[in-house]
Amino acid sequence: MTKSFFHLLSAAIAMAALLGTGCGPSNNSASGDGATQTAGGSGKKLMIALMPKSKGNAYFVSCKQGAERAAKELGVDLVFDGPTNPDPAKQNEIIENWITLGVDAIAAACENRDGISTALRKAQAKGIKVITYDSDAQPDARSFFVNQATPEGIGYTLMDEAGRLVGPSGEFAIITASLTAANMNEWQKHIEARRKEKFPNLKMVALRPCDDLKDKAQAEATTLLGAYPNLNLIMAICSPAVPGSAEAVKQAGKAGKVKVIGLGLPSENRRYVKDGVTDSVILWKTEDLGYLAVHAAKGLADGTLKPGAKSYQAGALGQFEIVGDHLLLGKPFIFNKDNIDQFNF
């Protein structure tokens, strides 16, 4: 046994040596590659990498469609990869892999603000242009943030909508994806701040996680409706939770009595909005977000977008205002019965 162990050890060392010698030549050619790419610019196709918070999430799939449209129009290669579950450490690993892959620009939606900034700074140090979209990193870790809505904006909009629907006093509950989801915790902070300031008599009675699953959200909402008979509103802050909560409210026969609002896609919520179960769904044009993120990343890589710019011309979408280092997509929409049919994502 001992013998075979050292056998293997020596085999492993031999492998390492093989890898080591293998590095030499290909390393040179690789860095040569990189040099021609950054210097030549127009000669070679640019490669833009777009990272969602997690894959297989309808929200980011919609972003990706816009991103693909932009990539086609601009003639750049688009790489779209991210963790399969919202895993912040995995985001860092993928970004580090993109750095060594030699992409020209990265556009990332950040799961964990501080964690991902380490990797993004490293990318910037290697000359890769970095922007963030959807949710920001630390300001020094990227050039621009494509701002569809600040956490403050989201939190305030949700709370104001709740206040408008329920009135000055009442009870509401929040359904979130997981207790550790960084961006949702950030929104909750602002929801709470707004509540304290403007609706002190609206009480948040419970917070429940649904693991980003619609069925679990439905079960949690059913339990909440039973446990808090005076509940006036459910606020669902992850996208599967909005239809899940709406279905629970509908089945409990409390449609109209218990309001449902949340952040989600129109396509997943259309039937509930039309039935009057869900009152409003808040979102922005996700396709435009993906489009703008890729367009701006490309602009940054080829120099059409420079730090300090006051506006940016993004192809078919037209002109966007830049405030500080935030590229503004526009205000979030509130989808309701009247306008939801105009949107098909």
Binding site: T2, S4, L8, C23, S26, W98, T100, T180
Partner: protein, 338 residues
């Protein structure tokens, strides 16, 4: 102790893995973009240290016929503990790290106690602590709290280079050599194998089965704590969700490395090769033009397939023999199923 035929199978499995690994490297080096660069090799190593550490301690446990599902959750609990000790209790990071290792020791000891003193199946005990440890990590931080802003000296452990290799690679190497020697060159290691083969037999042969088992689970706790430290240093942030799903990744690597899930058979070298094969695959898929945009899903799919192929290759000769056996013994027409 080990019969020569079995040994041949063992060696063959690892040879197979070396071949797989070489093929992977050759394939990605020629087809992938910027695969064989020093920076990328550094990436591969850095990204596999935590799962590698967990796999290294999972291996002796599986060798005894046990399993530990709680290591990923324990990594999360330890990361949070480290953050708490450093930021809230104001300890220096070195002391906080030491405190974290103590927590890992205690948690591993808890598993060990339940498994050996009460003779409960490891699968059930660690299924319970899998929830418990993650739950404690969430309760300690209410899920919300994240620890960040660690000092440079500490971050070096996860992001720095030392003598040409990533800093954490040295720790990993040390643990690997330590566990390799321990499992393969001491009576301890041999007793693990014996326990995996036949626990009662080992007991009659005078092996203190309970104490040896306890040691394996305590060691898993300690190394999970070490992994939480390299994780935090690499990532720069500690939060209650650290290490989610790492237990399955570690088990996958160990089994791919040829350790029998029933216990008794396996080697540390194989485990290392298993870790490497998965790490290279995951990294490589992110540099093929065709798979760049589905690398995360495909690495899952291919790992699953690779696992089945490796298993299949391992038992193929045996299975064919068994099939032939059955065919010759089942000459009578098949009976209807009751």
């Amino acid at each position: 102790m080990m019969n020569p035929a079995l040994r041949r199978i063992l060696v063959r499995h690892e040879t197979l893995l070396v071949v797989v690994l070489i093929l992977e490297v050759l394939f990605f080096a020629t087809q992938g973009r910027n695969f064989l660069t020093p920076d990328n090799l550094t990436n591969i190593i850095r990204h596999s240290v935590e799962i590698g550490l967990l796999a290294l301690v999972m291996m002796p446990i599986i060798l005894t016929g046990g399993i530990d599902l709680s290591v990923g959750s324990l990594l999360g609990l330890c990361a949070v503990t480290f953050g708490k000790l450093w930021r809230d209790a104001g300890w220096g990071w070195e002391w906080a790290a030491l405190g974290t290792v103590v927590v890992g020791f205690v948690a591993g000891g808890g598993n060990a106690l339940l498994i050996t003193a009460l003779r409960l199946p490891p699968l059930i005990v660690t299924l319970g602590t899998y929830s418990l440890f993650r739950g404690l990590a969430e309760a300690l931080t209410r899920g919300v709290d994240a620890f960040t802003g660690f000092p440079e000296g500490f971050l070096f452990l996860g992001t720095g280079q030392w003598l040409g290799l990533p800093a954490q690679a040295w720790l990993f190497g040390l643990v690997a050599v330590g566990i390799g020697l321990w499992v393969h060159n001491t009576t301890f290691g041999r007793s693990f194998r014996a326990i995996g083969f036949a626990p009662e037999g080992a007991r009659y042969a005078g092996v203190p089965v309970e104490r040896r088992l306890a040691l394996a689970y305590v060691l898993a706790g300690v190394v999970a704590a070490l992994a939480s430290i390299t994780y935090t240093a690499r990532f720069g942030t500690a939060k209650a969700d650290a290490g989610t799903g790492y237990e399955l990744a570690a088990i996958t690597a160990v089994v791919l490395g040829g350790t029998s899930i029933f216990g008794g058979v396996g080697s540390v070298g194989g485990t290392l090769l298993g870790v490497a094969a998965i790490a290279v695959l995951t990294n490589g898929l992110s540099r093929l033009p065709a798979t760049m945009s589905s690398a995360s899903e495909l690495s899952g799919v291919f790992t699953g397939v690779l696992l089945l192929l490796a298993l299949g290759a391992g038992i193929l000769p045996k299975a064919i023999a068994a099939l032939r056996d059955r065919r010759s013994s089942a000459q009578t027409p098949a009976q209807p199923v009751p």
